[in-house]
């Protein structure tokens, strides 16, 4: 057995475990998040287990062992991030939702019909409901307030990266601020 190749591929085995763990958990979980988390934990366990076993077989130096383990952990987390985003697309992507609407309408849909059926108000309501349900936003009478959320730093980081890489701001927020300032 080529244990260095096994060591190199441990993160891929972790990704397979992530997928299987997620699919199996999804059959029993009532909400998507715990199933996704179970998948990630299964993937982490397999990545660490396979890496540790291969390192023991290779009799690697402890410092090298930690380095290889760190590399595999980072690789698995990057793969798991990609997989999570794929799953998330199925929950949040408007394009995929439109594809589903077309799949369920063999006679086809008109552009106006789609805009009417799935307008932005519906889209915003869904997102507000999801963000409130998941505790990222709080409702106080008719106002929505920010709560301590793991998504907010991610959203802010994305906006900063947008500025660094693409040299532009978030267009939706820029347009809303412009509209607000011109109306006041």
């Amino acid at each position: 057995m080529d244990w260095s190749a096994v060591l190199a591929l441990a993160a891929l085995a972790g990704l397979a475990a992530d997928f299987l763990g997620h699919v199996i958990s999804a059959q029993f979980a009532s909400r998507p998040a715990p199933a996704i988390l179970m998948g990630i934990l299964a993937g982490l366990a397999v990545t660490l287990g396979v890496s540790g076993f291969a390192l023991a077989k290779l009799d690697a130096d402890p410092v090298d062992g930690v380095a290889y383990l760190g590399l595999n952990l980072a690789t698995f987390l990057a793969l798991a991030y990609g997989y999570f985003n794929f799953v998330n697309l199925n929950m949040t992507s408007l394009r995929i939702r439109l594809l589903q609407e077309f799949l369920e309408s063999p006679d086809g849909l008109t552009r106006d019909g789609v805009l009417e059926r799935y307008d932005s108000r519906e889209l915003v309501r869904r997102r507000i409901a999801r963000l409130t349900e998941q505790g990222h936003l709080a409702r106080s009478s008719d106002r929505f307030l920010s709560r301590r959320s793991v998504l907010l730093p991610i959203a802010r980081t994305l906006d900063s990266l947008k500025w660094i890489v693409l040299r532009r701001r978030n267009r939706l927020i820029a347009a809303a601020e412009k509209a607000a300032s011109s109306s006041s």
């Binding site: 990057a78 394009r95 594809l99 589903q100 799949l103």
Partner: protein
């Protein structure tokens, strides 16, 4: 020697499939893998400052993934970098998989940069308002049909996913669109997810 012949010779060396040579430690391999990915990112950001390509995702994919074989070849050819060059299938695969995973993760993140996510925009917009918060009407104004649904519909047409019927009155899935729609519907069933969007 061509690059392909060089690569073939490199991965078919006698210690192929074994632990790296003593001078290439795990730490050196980690340093190599992180350095190559960082270099690819720096190159990407620098290139984007000059001009954002038309086919952004494809260009990014080619640039990020193409950096790895070039970096391996350069590390073998430039003597000061040789201690960091992965030798043999195992170490090359190890660093390569790391590079692939991070490149794909970055491309996923980049697609969120290129398009303004309504969810992220709502979160930031509400947070920016502080204790005053935002009303539902404020949030409705943030995301308009014109900016969100229309462009995505048009994107499906230009991407060849949907096409007008013969009389031009309606749009239906193309064979390519049907394959994608069926694939995502299958995953939704397997994951037991509600309709998204």
């Amino acid at each position: 020697m061509t690059l392909a012949a060089f690569a073939l010779e490199t991965i078919s060396t006698p210690n192929c499939g074994t632990l790296p040579k003593p001078e290439l430690s795990g730490v050196a391999l980690v340093a190599f893998a992180f350095a190559v990915f960082t270099l690819a990112l720096v190159f990407h950001v620098a290139l984007w400052q000059v001009r954002v390509p038309k086919r952004q995702s494809l260009t990014l994919l080619v640039l990020l993934l193409g950096t790895f074989p070039v970096a391996v070849a350069v590390a073998h050819l430039v003597p000061p970098l040789e201690p960091f060059a992965p030798v043999g299938v195992g170490p090359t695969l190890h660093a390569g998989l790391f590079h692939l995973a991070f490149s794909l993760a970055y491309i996923v993140t980049y697609s969120a940069l290129a398009e303004d996510s309504p969810t992220c925009s709502i979160l930031v917009y509400v947070a920016d308002a502080g204790e005053a918060g935002r009303s539902e009407a404020d949030l409705m104004q943030l995301v308009s049909n014109e900016m969100i649904v229309g462009p995505r519909f048009d994107g499906l047409v230009t991407g060849g996913v949907i096409a007008p019927t013969d009389d031009g009155s309606r749009f239906v899935l193309t064979p390519k669109g049907r394959r994608w729609a069926t694939l995502f519907a299958t995953f939704r069933r397997v994951y037991r997810l509600r309709k998204g969007g």
